[in-house]
Amino acid sequence: MNGYPLLHIRLSIDYPGRPRVLDDAMLDVRPGEIVGLVGESGSGKSSLALALLRLLDLKGGRASGNIWFKDRDLMRAGEREMRSIRGKEIAFVPQSPSSYLNPALRLGDQMAEAWRAHQNGSRAGVERAVCRAIEQVGLPVDRAFLRRYPGEVSVGQAQRVLIAMAVLHLPGLLIADEPTSSLDLISQADVLRLLSRLNRELGMGILYISHDLLSIAGFCDRVAILHEGRIVEFRETDAVFEEPEHPYTKALIGALPGRVMTGDMR
Amino acid sequence: MKAFLAKLDCGAGTRACRVETRLDAFRGLRTPRSKVPNTHAPRSKGIVRPKSVDTSVDAADTSVRATAVVVLALLTLACSAVAATGAQPGGELRFCLYSEPKTFNPLLVADTSSEAIRYMTAGVLIRVNRQTQELEPSLAVSWRVVSQGRGIAFKLRQHVAFSDGTPFSAEDVAYTMHTLFDPSLHAPTADSFHAGGAAVKIETPAADEVTLTFPTPVAGIERLFDQVGILSSKSPRKEMASLGPFYVAQYKPGSEVDLSRNPYYWKRDRQGLRLPRIDAVRLYIQQNRDMELIRFQRGDLNIMSAVSPELFDQLQARMPAAVRDLGPSLESEMMWFNQSPKAPLPAYKKLWFQSREFRRALSAAVNREDLCRLVYRGHAHPAEGPISPANRFWFNSGLKPHRYDPAEALALLGKAGFRLQDGQLYDAQSHAVEFSIVTNAGNQAREKIAQMIQQDLKAIGIRLNVVKLDYSAIIDRISQSLDYESCLLGLTNVDLDPDAQMNVWLSSASNHQWNPNQASPATPWEAEIDRLMQAQGSELNPARRKAYFDKVQEIVSQEVPFLYLVTKNALVAVSPSLQNADPSVLRPQAVWNIEMLALTQEVAKK
C-alpha cells in the first residue's frame, strides 16, 4: 500500500431544514485499502456515500467541499463526467437489495444494463462480462438464475447480485453502504469475506460504511468514526481499538462484549 | 340562414282535397272540421316541430264575409247560454312543450313554446283556419282591405270581455297596434308587416271599428293578424289578461305551464254552450322524448307532436288508434350545388355545378321513392318543388317530382360532355367527378339520406364524400366563406305566402343560396325569377300573384338550383280519450281547435 490517496474528501452536507448533517468531514482512501466508516444511524453516513457519487440531490440534500478522486475534484465535474465515473470507477453497493434492485427487470437484464452503461459490446460480450462478475461473487453461472426477477431470489443472493453489478467494470473504488444490514449473521460473514477477497484479487479500494464497529473491525485497514456530523477519529483499526482518543469511540468500544481480535478475517 | 330555412317551402305527395264550404257568420260557432273523416291522407299523429303558425290565406277572402246582424243575433244567444256552462265535460288536457316558453307577451313571441301558448290564450282579430287555411272572423266580425292594399278596416265583435272581466273595445285594438309598432319593443311580429314604426296610422272611428293604414301596400295583409294577440289597454293584469279560450294560470319555470279556462271566452258551440269544453290545460316542459312516449302510453299525456317515423311505427303497433299521419307537412329536405363564381373551388367543378344538365342529371339520379321508404318508413313523399302540397293555395299542382331515371341522368351528362368509363364518370377535361356534400352532423335522417345519395351517385360513376359539420360551421360555409361544393339541409316553411321567400329567390339576396348577393342576375332564368317575384309582390290580386309564383316554381323545377328531395309527413299521436281531435298539418296541429276538444268521462275525472 502506498500513501497516495485514491480518494480524498472534505465535505459538508446540508438538507433543507437540517443543516450540517455532515460538517467538514475529512476522509481519504488509498488504492486497494479498506476504510471503514462507522457512525450511528442518521449520522450522515449514507449521505456521504451519495455525495461521493454526486447523487445526493436525489434525496434532496446538498453537498459542499471537495471530492478529490484520482486528481480530479468531482464536485466540479459535470453530469456527463460523473456518469462515466459512476459504476465504472466508483461503484456502489447499497444496503437493502430488496428495494435497490428493479423488481420489473430480470437480474441478467439489470446487470446487462449496468454493463452497457459503460461498454457497448456485443451480446456475447455482455454475457461474458455478466458471467464473470456472477462467478466472482460466488453465484451460480446459470442462465435460469439470470432470468429470474429480484423477487424470486433470496436476499443474500440479491445482495451478491448487487455486488456483482458493482464489480462489473472493476472499479478502483467501491462504496459499500451497510451491505450486510439486511442479512443474517452467516450471510453477513460471507459478504464480508467476499468483499475482502475482491479487494485482494482486484485491488479495489473499499469505503465500507457501517453502524457496527465490531463486525468490521477485523476487515478494515483504517476506521473513521463519525459522530454528530464530524469525523472524530480516523486511524488504523488497531490503533483505534487499542487507544481510542475520542470519548465517543471509547464509548463504542466500551460497549463491545469483549476485546476483539483483529486480523482474523484476513 | 335560419331565416332562410324557415322561408323555403317544400312539396310532397298530393293531399286530399276537401270540399270547402264558404265560411259564413256561423263559422266561428260551428264545430271546426272535426267531423271531416280522416280518410284522404294516412292519418298519423306527431306534431311537426313547431316553427311558425302562419298560413297563407286565400286572398279571395278579402271581402267582408260576415254579416254583423247574424253575429249580433248569435251573441245574444250566447249571453243567454252562460248559465249552461256548468254542463261542460271539463277535465284537464296534458301535453308537452319541448322548450321553455320565452315570453307570455303575445307581441314578443319568437319561440315555438310561446307561440303554442299564444295560440291557446290570446285573442286575434282574424284567425287562419288551420285545416282549410282560410281566414275566419274572430274578434273582428268583418274587415275590408282599403287604400289599394295599404290599409285594413275592422269591424269588431261586441260584448266581449278579457279573462279578468275587463270589457274589450276598439281602444284595446288601437293600444295593441301602437304597442306592436313601437320600435322600442322590437316585436318580431311587427317585422312581417314591413312597416317602419310610426308610419302606421291607427284610427278608431267607432267603439267597434278600427282602421290601420300602412305607408306601402302589404301583400296578404289580413293573414298577418292571425299572429297579433290583442292586449288590454285597461286591465290591471296587463298582457296576462286574455281574450282566447284559456289564460295562463300558473307558470313553474322548468316544469310546467298551467292554463285555465277563460270564463269570458266569447265563442259558443252549436248548442249555444260556452267554449272551451276543457277546464284546464297542463303543459309540461319536457325535452326527453322517451319520457314523453312512456307517459303518453300510460295515458298521462293526451297529445304528442313531431313524432319521428321510427317512434310512429312503434307506437302504431301498440296503439293503432292513437297515431295519425297527417300527410305532407311544410318540412322538406333538399340539396343544392354551390354555383357562386366567388367560391374557392377549382374552375372545372364550378363548371359542373353551373351546368343545368349536370344538376338535372343528378336530380334524376336520386331515387326519392327509396328515400321516403327507407329513411322515413314511408312517412314522406318525393318533393315537387319549393312549395309543399300542404300549402294549398300556393302549391303548383302542375309540378311533379323529378323522376328517378339513371339512364336519363347519364344521357343528360353525356350531352354536357361527361363520359362514363370503367364505372367512373369523367368531365370533358377528363377530371374524375368527385365532390362533397356538407350536412349537419347528428341528424340521423339526413345522414341516411346522404348515404343513399352516395350510393345512387356511385351508380352513375360519381364519388360523393359526405361531410358532416356542426350547424354553425355549415352556415359559415354556405353564407360567408362559400367553401363548399354541395349542401344537404332541411327546410321548414314558416309562412305560407311566397312574399316571405323574396330573400331566397331574388338573385341579389343574401339567402339566394346557390349563388348569393349577385350584382346582376347571373343567368337569364334567374333574371326571370327576379322579375316574377317582384311582380307578385306588387300585385294585390291573389289569382295573378299565384300565376306569377307558379311560374317561379316551374322555372325552379326546370333549372334545378335546388334538388328538392322529400316532403316529410306530419306525424302526431292523439290519445283515444281526446274527442273532436282533428290535427292539422299547420301548427299548433292537434290543438288548433282546442276550444272544441273534450275528454271522455273517465279521463276527465282522472
Binding site: - | 321510427e310 362533397s436 348515404q451
Partner: protein, 266 residues
Amino acid sequence: MKAIRYLAATLLLALLLAALWPGALTRTPYDRQFRELPNAPVSRQFPLGTDELGRDRLSRLLYGTRVSLLAAPAAALLSTILAALVGGLAGFLGGWFDRAAVALIDLMLSLPWLFLLIIVRAMLPLNVPALVSVLLTFGLIGLLGWPSAARIVRAGCRTLRCSDLVLQARACGLPRGRVLLKHVLPNVRPILTAQFRASIPIYILAEANLGLLGLGVADPLPSWGNLLRPLESGLAPDWAAWAPLILMLVVVSCLYLTQSSKVVVQ
C-alpha cells in the same frame, strides 16, 4: 386459469384475422344497399340481417371490426406512449419540465374540446378519402387521450424518481434517459397497460361521438362506433344491432383475460 387465457388469446387472434381479412367471411360489400330488404331479419343471405338502408349487417360488422380493432388499439398505443413520455419525463426529471408538463396536462384537460374539435373539422378539406378519415379520427383521439393518464404516470414516476432502484441505476452510471426507459417506466407499466386496455373501448366509443361532430370514420365505411350509433336513439332495435357492442365487450374481456398474471406493481 391458463386454459381461459389460451381461449381468450385464441378468440382475439381469430377476431384479428377476421378483421384483417373480412373478405374471407363475407362476399357482400359493406356499402351495398339492398333497398328492397331494409331491416331484414336473419337469413342465409344475411346472417345478421340488414340495417335500415338494407346493408348486410355481418359484412358491416366485419369491416367495422377491421377499422375499430386495428385503429382503436393503435390510438390507445399512441396515447399511452405519449402519456408515458410526458408523465414519465415530468415525474422523473422534475423541475421546470415537470411544471411545464403539469401546466400542459391541466390545459389539455380543461380545454373545451367540443369546440376545438368542431374547429378542427371545419379546417379539414372537404374531400377526404375514407381511409384518411380513419387515420385522422383515431390519430386525433390518440393525440388527445393522453393527459389524464399522463397525470397518473407522473405521480407514479415522481415517487420512483427518488427511489432506491433509481439511485442504484444511476449509481451504475446509467444515463437518465436510460433509467427512465428501463427502470422507471417498467415500474409504472401496470398503470400504462391498464390505461392502454381501458382506452380501447373508450376510443371505439369516442369515434362514435366524434361522428356526431362530423369527425368520425367517413361514410360509407363502417366502424363499431358508427354501427353503435343507432342504439343511441332509445328505440329498441333488432338484437342483431347489438352485435357490435357484444363484440366489443368480448374483445375487452379477452384483453383483460390474456393479461399476464405476473403483477409487477411496486
